[in-house]
Symmetry: D3
Subunit: 316 residues, 6 copies
């Protein structure tokens, strides 16, 4: 999607200019991983116009492969408009993705066998299947193909109440979970979609067991030192429980933090080092929020430097 | 529609920011007339979100009444993206109005009898009926209601080949022409839609006679002094033929010139002074192209000053 | 007034561009109320030039009626230049309103009987009468006319030490207070102008009793969690005392918060619900500070959403 | 004066930002000469606030001495707002200098004897005496002091019809002309103020003779190759007549061209080379119009390079 | 190189911001060809810092392969500062490439045999060998490797008098010409470097014969319709002479036009269609000048559309 | 140096524009003192091009004398690129000063006897001697000349690990310290360069005694109220110990704070009031961080106002 942001906390209905950038849950994860040096491909559909061209250009810029993108001549590019909040006024996202290219995809548009060749993990989210019936079928198609090819599947629940009801989400996500190896979710998603409540670690354990997951990663929200000040903490449950420390951080742009976290955890997971993944996830999520836009545009060296010495100082 | 413009002749697929303004054929005419001091209302549908709110706010800013706007909660706002050209590269407009609020209007959404009370003229264009079947029905509904209420009807053919075929346009526009009093068109529209050719004044005369029109206004394109330099000229046929002189002008932003011309002609027509209308139309169209955006945001005094003394100088 | 702001905390004496917006104590209240859906009119004088036109255009944009604005051909528009501070450097306001249109108003310029027809409340501030003798007379004229027409009068003391001495302010404001029903003030104004000190609630009670006021609203300043972090709290005394809780909030732009508070309190007062007014006043004042400019450009639904759930999160 | 310009040809009454720069007839001449390497001082009054500080800072930046500036604590800085035109819409200047610091100057504020020590020429314009009676007296005071000190006087008529009537201008300027050595004017000023008409060279000759002037410089306006395209030509009459060739040039910003011409002519005159002055004046005036702002910010080497090879190419 | 441009024709020594883009003769050709769909690689050296990373990112964005870039940790990135002119003031380029990464390359840094595998043409310019002795050796190394591998060599003389003397240029370029197949040059380069004069077609013929070139392409400069208005024309000599028509065009940004011409000619040459190449070269060069920056960022479809219908109109 | 800053916390390798300002340790001190009203000169070398011209223009703007600047035609201007961080991501400075004009200075370029005439203090830093051997010699030359002329010497250690090793720094700085009267340093510099550790006041006392210094000023870093929130504290040791209170402040731009502190301490020292210097140093350092850029552009009155009443409020 193209993200159109009203600059400098101005109101969307009155802004004279909009800042243009790229965003989208799966795209954000792909870009973050590519910037860390992981070989990555983004598979989706785009309209055959300057806006679609922009998405591919920007992905190539970050080194993400776009060879299986499906071009849909008559479709539109999904957009979202962002008005950045400040406490106590929340940020507002206005989605405008009706009729976007991905909703025009049909069976066979992507040869998943070929697209997944040499892949180690397929990452999907709960947003795409929520967009339309055909989007749900395409997601299931990809997940099944991954299963068939021995490619691990990572799923972020990413529940969006404007897109579907909890019941619809639950039905779809539960059907997918049978093929999922690594699950990203949050207490609020678990409550909204699965009706779960309780201690986060207990919910994670129950899910891991019920769906035979290799790992469950949970993003927690903890209060900062002052009203409106943000703080992150997370849990990762594999065969043991890993917990990060709460980290307060500055917020230049709050969007995309969850996807940056996912990318960091996947990075560690692919290295066989869950704790590294958890720490890298929290660090990337915090770093993402210190730059404008949805994307975590950081090299591995940059992330490692911050992990070893977070700082408000100037490096000369 | 919201217009999103890549600034400073930059390419749409690479621009880091977009300038936001308002545009739309009927809206442009309404705003230009309101700025000239004519009491004006814009009747259409908008999504009930910050972008829809923006349209109403901006119209109110220019003094255009928006009391009969229909709010459609689930719809989107039509957008168009503009990349500004420079000779020999043409400007490019990318329309994105699939599913816009106007396509969701149903019969009875507007009480046209009430909306047209005290109106002297209803202005419609060939763009709205080209958008969807229901849009065509709404246009016909409005035109019939005007006829019933003794309100004159003005139509701008505004043929857009991406929206419908010549045959579709011809069938629809001919059906409307029976109720039209004042027609705005151009030699290229006449050729594309009605298959007419020949001298502009002859085509205008034939149309005026066939459809019993009070007046036909034609925008002509004439070459400027250099490649890529623009120049305007126009004709108005009532019971006699009025022709303006060709005027070369600077181009800061070429969009909306035709609608500014329409507003100027309507202004004179409402005053019973066709020649004033023709001169004001050409002047407004030239002035519009000296400011960014689609809108002719000029007071009557400003237009009169330029009509009496066009100038590249500085007024102190 | 036009507000010209040095962008991004840059210094006024060196800024390469200035951001243009609108401001003024009474105007801010009118805009905030109109955005909440209250029918509002702003009555003042403007120069008959592009800057005056801008004020009317912007007010119309927000739905504020400007039908009784008096146009003064030779006058200027009052300006103010703003340099935004950051702790420990205060923001600086440089007023430039010498000879502004309002100082040229003469008796009879406004037919107050007509202007106040159907009004429920007239809001004035201590700034206008401080500008010039004639401004004071115009204020008194309006207040008397309101009294005669049975329209309630609201007054914000808004003491500005650069405009008049405490003695001048006291004499003028005390004369007005006889006709005032709702008073907005602060402990610092009460100390500076009326020489009062003591607990805020006691000062409010004493004023309410002495001038037979229906209500007294007090803005308090309380320390935030860190140096330079802002926090709001307020009191409203009617026949009982209502006190809000202290709220810490982010500050994008501190200007206009007091006027937003006033608008919120007036909203509740007009609804006969003082506590709603107090809460809405504090919320609007905090929300105003999260957007650039003086104006509280929020709909009722937006304010109600924040009142029920203030948040630093993203609403999708 | 501070110049506040609506950017990118946008309308002043709607611009979201204004570009800030410096302008003023005498100031422009001083800056242009200082940039050419001529030792220059600007003598005037400024308000003791950030805007006044800005004027001095910017003048120092260009190397103009500001040691005799008079600081007026309660005054304002004169402003002017600029809306840039494009053919056929003229640029509009909105002056806002009522009550500016210069109108508060009183006799003796400047010790002209000291200020003019070591000066070779005093340059004044017809704008300052038009602002107020006291401004006229200050101008006369300076001109008389120059006469007494043997400093040559240069006067640019610069007639502004919004500031005074032709009769007032004529009376004042004729009184000054007795002490003037070098006169800058134009056919339109000569017609408006002195009721002269005829061939430019004849008018110049008649003036030179009547007022015993050393030299008269005339800026002429000649049509360019297309509507709205600008072209310059000028005459200089000393004991013989020097005429430049007409030069068509691009226009980025038309303001300040006349003052740049004056600076160029003064440069040559101070070198005893009238023809150099005329050519440098035309070149500087054309160059000024290729950059934003009022100021001719060019070094001598830059001007000489353009004089020897005007070009639309790129110098690498 | 990074290009840092003073915006909006402002002066470099006073601009408050600089626009950042990419430029460089060989890089511009690579990007233009990649955008046309030709498989392209750029081989050079970059510093291992954020600025070097930027160059690779941007090249990837356009689809140019960067796999053989040599990273030099201690080097700097070459910069150039641009001040955009307007007639009669020329644009000024300030190069700042002392010590840039390419000057640190040593023999063997690039395995040319591997880098040129599957290549059809190697394009070099006269700028790189002019930078330093080692740069000249690297250029010769590449050209020799191409000869050895049967890859055609294209050379653009691109004489820069600030980098080397005509004698140095002549000696170096003549040595290279023995291995060159396609030569890009201009009458002014031929005069400056080779001391040639005469009709362009004669000079081309003489060069083609002397160095056994397959083709010689010449960019000519012809006067436009007005002072400062640009116009292009070119010649291509293979076994016959192809001449394009002179085309006047708008100029948004004059830089990179020559490289765009080269890319267009190479495109046709690779297709075996010299006339297509010449027309595409002229069109691309004109189109490049209608967008900001050095790069010709146009798809094949876009160029073909302009070749068939150059226009100052709006395409909807 | 020219400072090129990626705006709004954007990443340097992706920013579309860069903000241009001036910076440099000695230059920052000179500008801050000049703005406080102290007569100041900056002595260094600059390239004879628009970028060098910019440095002199900007220094003149602040009233800093530039009469002894040495112009080096072939040199470049030192640059530094800044990416602004936000916690936990540090700001990044990318220096690009290889071959800058100062490295081309030779003995005798500056007549230090003349340059230091009437000076009371010469301020040097540890950055210049770290740049190159000749830079070290120039620094020593200046310090010796000051000693010879009875001018006090102030030195800021300003250790930069990218420029030289601790051993090199120690050797050079110890050699200079024999002529130094006032030393600015920090615990981290003392540890890195001199291998000192312990309580700051003890380290200061030991240094003061060993090198017979009049005064040692130490900048301390103390934790703020929240992660990433900055706080300042400092010590000044003369014949007694002065300690300031820790002050938490907002951070708009962290660069240049140390130089602003130095300027404040020097101001007090020149007045013979060390405590005033310490308080002014801390206040200036905090104020500097509330504005963009390296420079402390504040008048004495502004600093005194903040010292007496630091505030997050608005001054009207």
């Amino acid at each position: 999607m193209l993200r159109l942001t009203a600059p400098q906390h101005s109101r969307l209905h009155a802004a004279a200019t909009l800042d243009v950038s790229l965003g989208g849950a799966e795209l954000n994860v792909a870009v973050a991983l590519a910037n860390l040096g992981v070989s990555t491909e983004w598979v989706s559909a785009l309209p055959d116009n300057p806006l679609g061209r922009r998405v591919v250009d920007e992905l190539r810029r970050h080194g993400v492969d776009t060879g299986h993108v499906v071009w849909k001549p008559e479709a539109r590019l999904g957009l979202y408009f962002l008005e950045e909040g400040a406490y106590p006024r929340p940020s507002q996202v206005l989605y405008d993705r009706q009729g976007s290219a991905i909703t025009r995809m049909v069976e066979g548009d992507v040869d998943w066998g070929e697209a997944l060749r040499d892949a180690r993990v397929l990452h999907v989210t709960g947003i795409t299947p929520a967009l339309c019936d055909s989007c749900r079928q395409r997601t299931e198609e990809a997940v099944r193909a991954a299963g068939a090819a021995g490619v691990k599947v990572s799923l972020d629940t990413n529940y969006r109440s404007k897109l579907w009801s909890p019941a619809e989400a639950q039905e779809c996500l539960e059907a997918l979970l049978g093929d999922v190896n690594l699950l990203f979710t949050s207490p609020s998603d678990l409550e909204a979609v699965f009706g779960r409540s309780g201690a986060p670690e207990d919910m994670a354990a129950e899910l891991r067991s019920r769906y035979s997951l290799e790992a469950v990663a949970l993003s927690l929200r903890v209060p900062g030192s002052a009203q409106g000040r943000l703080c992150r903490q997370s849990l990762l449950l594999t065969d043991r429980l890993w917990a990060s420390e709460a980290v307060e951080h500055d917020v230049v742009d709050a969007l995309g933090a969850g996807d940056a976290f996912t990318a960091g955890v996947l990075y560690g997971w692919l290295q066989g080092d869950p704790l590294l993944g958890l720490r890298m996830g929290d660090t990337l999520a915090a770093m993402k929020q210190t730059v404008p836009g949805d994307l975590a545009d950081f090299t591995l060296a940059e992330v490692e430097a911050v992990m070893s010495a977070p700082s408000a100082r100037v490096h000369r």
